[in-house]
């Protein structure tokens, strides 16, 4: 790991002002993506701004028909939150499927979303649940936020403070885990909202998380597994690597979507 200067602000304002002054900086959340990347010297920021002591970035709150989660909430906290389990049980179940218990004790929702790993779980949840990503500067719809592998709408120095999820009437996440890394080989999050169904896929797309319009239309008309009959996603837009080729991933998208709808309609 290259040397860096360490900063520990206690407010979002202080963090933003540090970010404005510091050259070549990165925010540190749970560190479970960033620190391994720094060890590999794929990242070598001169300044590391630790968000770990900022109380405003924590908390889970339900207000009306939205569930709001602070950026520094850990996966384990989301998985075990009575509030989340009650409002959007599929989100708690998704968080419980991330990594292993130790990873869930450190990794955060804000870090996962800012990172936008093509195999991460939260991007699929945000997209299917039509979440709003709240930063210290603005509110960004999930549809505009995720812009391809490891790419988001965040500007340099912009801090995610919260993520707000409209509460769906039914939802579920089905994940086919890579048994070694535990990341999603393919994960499909399905959510039924008052104005229609949203289907988001992670792990599979060569351009990161994406929605499947054809499935959304079919499921909006008829929210049953059979509505998916005959719908296939195009192989040429799928990722291919040592873990699975594009054809296999395309097939898995269909299988996981079906399982997610089954789970959502069973509940």
């Amino acid at each position: 790991m290259y040397a860096f200067e360490y900063h520990r602000p206690t407010s979002v304002k202080e963090a933003a002002s540090l970010a404005g002054q510091a050259e070549d900086m990165k925010f540190l959340a749970g560190g479970h993506t960033l620190l391994p990347t720094m060890k590999l010297r794929l990242a070598g920021p001169a300044n590391l701004i630790d968000l770990g002591q900022i109380a405003e970035l924590r908390g889970i709150e339900r207000a009306g028909d939205a569930l709001t989660i602070g950026a520094m909430m850990k996966h384990g906290e989301v998985a075990n939150s009575a509030e989340v389990k009650q409002a959007v049980p599929a989100l708690a179940e998704m968080a419980e499927l991330i990594g292993d218990p130790h990873v869930r004790n450190r990794g955060t929702i804000g870090g996962s979303i800012a990172n936008n790993d093509p195999s991460a779980d939260y991007p699929a949840a945000c997209l299917a649940l039509n979440a709003t990503i709240v930063t210290n500067q603005r509110k960004i719809a999930a549809d505009d936020f995720f812009q391809g592998i490891f790419t988001t709408a965040l500007e340099e120095g912009e801090i995610i403070t919260h993520v707000s999820f409209p509460i769906p009437s039914q939802a579920a996440y089905a994940k086919f885990r890579n048994p070694a890394s535990r990341y999603a080989l393919v994960g499909v999050f399905v959510a039924k909202h008052a104005d229609g169904v949203r289907v988001a896929v992670t792990g599979a797309g060569s351009n990161g998380v994406f929605r499947v319009q054809e499935m959304e239309q079919a499921l909006s008309a008829n929210f049953t597994p059979d509505a998916l009959n005959g719908i296939v996603v195009a192989e040429d837009e799928m990722n291919s690597d040592i873990h699975a080729d594009a054809a296999y991933r395309a097939h898995l998208v269909g299988v996981m979507a079906r399982r997610a709808v089954e789970a959502a309609t069973r509940a």
């Binding site: 540190l28 479970h32 391994p36 630790d50 770990g52 218990p101 130790h102 990873v103």
Partner: protein, 164 residues
Amino acid sequence: MTTVSLTVNGQSVTADVDPRTLLVQFLRDNLRLTGTHVGCDTSQCGACVVHLNGQAVKSCTVLAVQANASVVTTIEGIADGGELHPMQAAFREHHGLQCGFCTPGMIMSAIDIVNRKGNALDEQTIRAELEGNLCRCTGYHNIVKAVAAGARGMAQEPLSQAAE
């Protein structure tokens, strides 16, 4: 250099560290607590698991400075004087180790599982909860047995909670 102050196994420690010092390096090199191991250094194996404010974490993926003002418990901090913690005793009794390299992380993870899931653990729960800990020797069978027995032992041993 950045100053870090924390409590390790009940003792306060303060030191000036290079900010890139990992918690595991701090424990091993600064404090000479070499029971916490580094197996992979890539967040996969769990040999480095310690408790940070009562929760199991991979100390190879935490900076020492991130643990400022925290309470850390390592494998050296769980025995009661000369008497092994019930989870340690169970690993010995059930041959839950061969080379022993993964064992400190296994035991710290196992205690965390009991803290979260209680003293009656079935095999499926133990196997699922240990997915962040790799062992290259035992085939896990005896580790799973040891964790189940250690969990039961912790119910009978009121002192076990005091170590946390």
